[in-house]
């Protein structure tokens, strides 16, 4: 194309309207197979779909103008630090109108054809396929089969490296669970405190009252909030026996359950006072406060673990000991003990 100047007609000259098919013409160097004839401008395939092109053009122009106005208004609104609905309206309407205009231009005022092109089969010849397979199989045979030892060593080495890399990759991500999931911050004698760290006195709550409590000193820690959180409910004025084996766990009607739902760990944050049910807002598991928080509805499979309480000589509520089972949702290592009855 270095001498392009001479191979092209100068403007103004009438180009041959139709090029004889097969005849070499300027520009057909791109396609060597079958040269496609030049189309005349009135070729029906090049016609626009609009029935009234002038009117269509006017409408599209209107859309584009709205678009220009919109994006310009967006710029002004941004400079003025306008509220976001103004920004959205200007930008949204502007871009949308411009998009409608451009799409309509493409749809109604550009050649639609229908044009056709061949789909060339993707597959190569059988011979090519065979050659590829042969290269894979035979060359592997030559290299690996003949040198089984080397192949084995290489494979083994890569395998070992792969496994070895997993260790730093995974182990550095976090500690092993160990016994973490089995423990909470509740120890024997721990004071119950509210979120501000204040101890709970036995006269503090009236019947029907509910409070989220933490082990003293843990109320502001992540673990205290996520794992140790416990709901304290005053169910009645006399000692409450939720189960036979829990005779002295709820002195003067103060009963405490883990607040971590046994389904998926949401805080069991709702208390239905009339029915004395603790309700988890996530999937509506309901736990009966009087019977040891046995689930009466919903997907939770286990009762909420109960925290044994006592009232010390000064009248403050304390834990007899920690929970007798892991709190929260189930996991593989969780043992069966404490499933509701213990």
């Amino acid at each position: 194309m270095s001498d392009s100047g001479s191979t092209f007609e100068t403007p103004g000259t009438q180009v041959a309207l139709e090029v004889a098919s097969g005849g070499p013409s300027e520009g057909d160097g791109h396609r060597t197979a079958v040269p496609i004839p030049t189309a005349r401008l009135d070729d029906p395939h090049l016609q626009e779909a609009a029935r009234f092109p002038r009117r269509t053009e006017a409408i599209i122009a209107l859309f584009l103008l709205v678009g220009i106005g919109g994006v310009a208004a967006f710029g002004a609104a941004y400079v003025q630090n306008a509220p976001s609905w103004v920004l959205a309206l200007s930008m949204g309407v502007g871009l949308f109108a411009m998009g409608v205009g451009l799409t309509a231009w493409g749809k109604y005022l550009m050649p639609q054809g229908p044009f056709v092109e061949d789909r060339h089969p993707l597959a190569n010849s059988r011979r090519d396929q065979e050659a590829m397979a042969a290269a894979l199989v035979e060359r592997t045979g030559v290299v690996v089969k003949r040198r089984k030892l080397l192949g084995g060593l290489l494979g083994g080495g890569m395998g070992i490296f792969g496994i070895v890399t997993l260790f730093p990759l995974l182990r550095s991500l976090g500690p092993l669970p160990g016994k973490t999931l089995f423990t909470t911050g509740w120890k024997s004698g721990t004071y119950l405190v509210d979120s501000t760290g204040t101890r709970i006195h036995k006269d503090q709550m009236s019947v029907g009252g509910i409070l989220t409590v933490y082990p003293q000193g843990k109320e502001n820690t992540d673990r205290g909030q996520a794992v140790d959180q416990t709901v304290l409910i005053r169910a009645q004025l006399t000692d409450l026996v939720t189960m036979k084996s829990r005779a002295n766990w709820a002195p003067t009607g103060y009963v405490a359950y883990s607040k971590v739902c046994t389904h998926l760990g949401c805080p069991v944050g709702l208390y239905e006072q009339l029915l004395e049910l603790l309700v988890c807002p996530c999937h509506q598991s309901m736990f009966n406060v009087r019977d040891g928080a046995v689930p009466v509805f919903g997907p939770a499979p286990r009762p909420l673990p109960q925290l044994p309480l006592y009232i010390d000589s000064t009248g403050f509520l304390r834990a007899q000991r920690g929970y007798n089972q892991p709190v929260g949702p189930g996991f593989w290592e969780r043992t069966t003990e404490g499933n509701g009855t213990a």
Partner: protein, 523 residues
């Protein structure tokens, strides 16, 4: 080419004369072609034909909302602080003044109130994510019901499905980043779901969270996965998806001149490009309108996350709804024994069920090939009714997912209709089995009916003329065709190599072509 005048002084005609008919463009093409050899391929690309059907734009919605996601996402990374360090908020938004919160939450509130256009961009990002996932689902429904996933396009089906899964995952991660009360609960649930996996669950959970829940690193980890790892994979997959589309060429519905071995449509340049660029603008505009006018995820109302607090109406983002529904209606079956626990009540609805569902989708092209024994190439699309069983199966899966989605609102439904929660629960437990079966049967019936009964569907109705023969017999026959009754399509022609742009007749004259479908050309 060496002239005494500078290039500026030359007229257009002079430039054309020195460079050839196509002027500077020709020079540019030549220079590029000499270096990259792109003239032939580029020309073929400009000629590339796109079959036209309204349903082919569904994938474009997904593509363009992805573009919007990337653009708005980059903006958000400039202001978001992925940190769980606790700070005391003293910002523009007064109701939260003096409240302790993580930096992640504080910076999100900041984006919403203090950054110029921040709220708009944040909400656009959220809307774009929902539109992205939604449009992928609808697009895949189109692919499925028209059989576009068949050979040779199985790989693109797999890539698309993977993008859907990654999209859902990334949506969840992004939803979690602000560290507000509702999303924090979502993270807690995700942790518990990981924990439920037998043998390795607690290890996986500890490794992902860097220790026991909540730890202080999860927002940072989610952040890097959300803004780098998954988007990078998605970007690669979008490229592969489009590359395969170009290589294998688009499918088309049956029609005049359309065969398994050709493509009929309008060319890439300029027609398709104009339409699709316009569509990009429309999608962006629509998302901007949504982002500024339709509030989504107002995290400043939820408050910062605290592990022992919970808001009343806990709802995950839209696309997670079906999993939440499955968790709700699953019976509380845990298995315990030999000192171990398998929490089926979590494991089945949250891990096994979606695993089965997505694997069924992955395997469908292979399954269908195996069942029908059809290993041929398919470039022509089915109408859904042409394959009653496939259509029915797809409808059943959608019915199942939709029922589960509705089940995620058991409490709302129970409240609204004043029925007991228990009745609602059992209603959905029954519905989740019955609705898909009924849907399957009904869809199958409708398809079969349409296939056998409605052969003339879609054609223009013609008047029936009832006439009486001399013998007294009545005969009904369709009336003669009137002009315009049958719209005649042109025979598809190859894209012309050159278009003769010179005026054929003096300006002002009109050319009238009489063959059908051809309109006047005014000059």
């Amino acid at each position: 080419m060496i002239t005494t005048e500078g290039p500026r002084a030359r007229t257009r005609r002079q430039v054309q004369q020195s460079h050839g008919k196509y002027g500077r463009v020709q020079v540019a093409v030549n220079e590029l072609d000499e270096r990259l050899g792109l003239a032939r391929g580029g020309r073929i690309f400009l000629d590339k034909l796109f079959p036209d059907h309204w349903s082919f734009m569904l994938g474009e919605i997904a593509l363009y909302s992805f573009v919007v996601l990337l653009a708005t996402g980059v903006f958000l990374t400039l202001y978001f602080v992925p940190s769980q360090t606790i700070v005391t908020y003293h910002g523009v938004y007064k109701p939260l003044d003096g409240i302790k919160m993580s930096e992640a939450y504080a910076s999100t509130v900041n984006i919403s109130f203090a950054v110029r256009a921040g709220l708009l961009i944040r909400q656009m990002h959220h809307w774009a994510a929902d539109v992205f996932i939604g449009s992928i689902v609808v697009h895949m429904a189109r692919i499925f019901f028209t059989g576009a996933f068949r050979k040779p396009r199985e790989l693109n089906w797999v890539i698309g499905l993977t993008m859907l899964i990654l999209g859902i995952l990334n949506g969840f991660l992004g939803y979690s980043l602000p560290d507000d009360l509702i999303s924090g609960t979502g993270i807690r649930i995700a942790y518990s779901i990981l924990e439920s996996i037998p043998f390795v669950g607690s290890y996986l959970a500890f490794w992902l969270f860097g220790g026991e829940y909540p730890g202080n690193i999860i927002i940072e980890r989610f952040y890097i996965i959300h803004v780098l790892i998954i988007p990078l994979v998605l970007l690669g997959m979008v490229g592969a998806h489009l590359g395969l589309l170009v290589r294998q060429k688009h499918t088309q519905f049956r029609g005049k001149g359309r065969t398994e071995h050709n493509v009929v449509g309008s060319p890439m340049f300029p027609t398709f490009m104009a339409k699709t660029t316009g569509f990009l603008l429309m999608v962006t505009g629509a998302l901007a309108l949504l982002g500024g006018l339709a509030q989504i995820n107002p995290i400043w109302q939820f408050g910062p996350y605290e592990a022992s607090k919970i808001s009343y109406a806990v709802q995950p983002d839209l696309y997670m709804g079906f999993l939440d529904g499955a968790l709700r209606i699953m019976p509380s079956w845990q298995w315990t024994g030999w000192g171990h626990t398998i929490p089926w009540e979590v494991l089945f609805p949250a891990i096994i069920f979606p695993g089965l569902l997505f694997n069924l989708c992955f395997a469908w092209p292979a399954l269908e090939r195996w069942f029908t024994g059809d290993n041929a190439m398919h470039n022509l699309l089915d109408r859904p009714r042409d394959r009653p069983k496939r259509t029915a199966a797809g409808a059943a899966v959608f019915a199942l997912v939709f029922t589960l989605f509705c089940a995620s609102a058991t409490d709302v439904i129970a409240n609204y209709f004043g029925v007991s929660l228990n009745a609602t629960l059992w209603f959905f437990r029954a519905a989740v089995i019955l609705v898909p079966i009924v849907t399957y049967y009904l869809t199958w019936r409708v398809c079969v009916e349409m296939l056998h009964g409605g052969r003339h569907m879609g054609k223009r109705k013609r008047a029936m003329v009832v006439s009486r023969t001399p013998e007294g017999e009545y005969v009904a026959a369709p009336s003669d065709m009137r002009p315009g009754d049958e719209h005649s399509e042109l025979r598809p022609a190859p894209v012309p190599e050159q278009i003769d742009m010179e005026p054929l007749e003096p300006v002002g004259a009109t050319t009238t072509v009489s063959s059908p479908g051809i309109r006047r050309v005014r000059r």
